[in-house]
């Protein structure tokens, strides 16, 4: 099919979808209104479990099973990318450490921001149940902070400080421990991923039962998974072109 025919076909489809969307949007409940059934159910449940952050409570307590699925998607994507981007033996011979020039100011900024970013990532993961954040967000901050070393131009330093094997183990272990926490809930509380740990005092670091535990596990999983994922893509960049 030519590009022109395809565009016209797509335009017709898009018009149909647009009409359906507008019809649906016109019959939606009033925008900004106070009709939020899930919110009204989640708020008392969350307060009873001593979790100030409602979103974290939904993710790691009320609907923790969905997060298990989400976490498995991340793990599956990492495994998929690992198998897709594995360099072939011929490519392995052409891998060379990155050369080139990095501006000193970028280097300094990278080294200065590295501890700040790592600290911020740990803070976002650890306080996921209290303040905005959680395992997913903090994990991403941790993994990208780690790669500031790459931007600062020290690929050898990154390669030394980036034990890919251990990241793979950590990712698998964190995913497994999430299930183990769920099974512990099943045994102690009668439901998979039931929040069985003591809830503690509202707003303190050790409170909200299993929410911070699962948040930290997800944080480890996402951080390790992203490090592995980015390592594969960066590794592809190091393979020298065949024709050069």
């Amino acid at each position: 099919m030519t590009l022109r025919a395809r565009t016209w076909l797509c335009a017709a489809g898009a018009l149909g979808v647009a009409v359906l969307l507008v019809t649906a949007f016109l019959r939606m409940p009033r925008f900004g209104g106070d009709l939020h059934v899930y919110r009204d159910l989640a708020l008392p449940a969350t307060l009873a479990r001593m979790t100030p952050n409602l979103v974290s409570s939904v993710n790691f307590d009320l609907r923790a099973l969905d997060t298990l699925g989400e976490e498995t998607i991340v793990a599956a994507a990492v495994v998929g990318t690992l198998s897709l981007l594995q360099p072939s033996p011929a490519e392995r011979e052409r891998i060379e450490p990155q050369r080139g020039y990095v501006m000193p100011v970028v280097k300094v900024a990278g080294y200065l921001l590295l501890p700040v970013t790592l600290l911020l990532g740990l803070d976002v993961v650890a306080h996921g149940h209290l303040t905005p954040g959680g395992g997913f967000q903090g994990g991403v901050v941790l993994a990208t902070g780690w790669h500031l070393l790459y931007i600062s131009g020290s690929y050898p330093a990154l390669a030394r400080l980036r034990p890919i094997d251990w990241c793979e183990y950590a990712e698998a272990a964190a995913t497994g421990l999430y299930v183990v926490t769920g099974l512990a809930g099943l045994i102690a509380g009668g439901a998979f991923l039931a929040n069985v740990l003591p809830k503690g005092e509202f707003g303190s670091l050790l409170s909200a039962g299993t929410v911070p535990v699962l948040s930290v596990l997800v944080g480890i999983e996402v951080a390790a998974g992203l490090v592995v994922l980015l390592a594969q893509f960066l590794g592809q960049g190091l393979i020298r072109e065949e024709h050069s």
Binding site: T7, M28, R30, F31, G32, V55, G80
Partner: protein, 114 residues
Amino acid sequence: MIGMACYGVAGWLLLLGAIGIVRSRHLVHTVVSLSVAQAGTYVLLLGIGYQDQAGAPIVAQDQRQPVVDPMVQAMTLTDIVVSATITALLLGLTIQISKRHGTVDPDELRALRG
């Protein structure tokens, strides 16, 4: 008014992303178009959860002020995670296609090759 604008942006992003996929001449452009289309769902979900004069869903024990819907925010988070992983996987596939077929133009990828 602002509601229709919000829903309009959501629908617009979805359709724009879809048209981008259809008209794409480069596989990386296709992947980014998919991300744009998925961004429409974030706007839609957050728009559904919005409430006038409501605060962020971080509450105190004696919360008086209403908060916006946390359920759709959690769904948006899931959405972003799925979008990021799908993007990574598709970009990995793009690298493999570029290696095996020597092109990243979807129109030039006609036949399956082992």
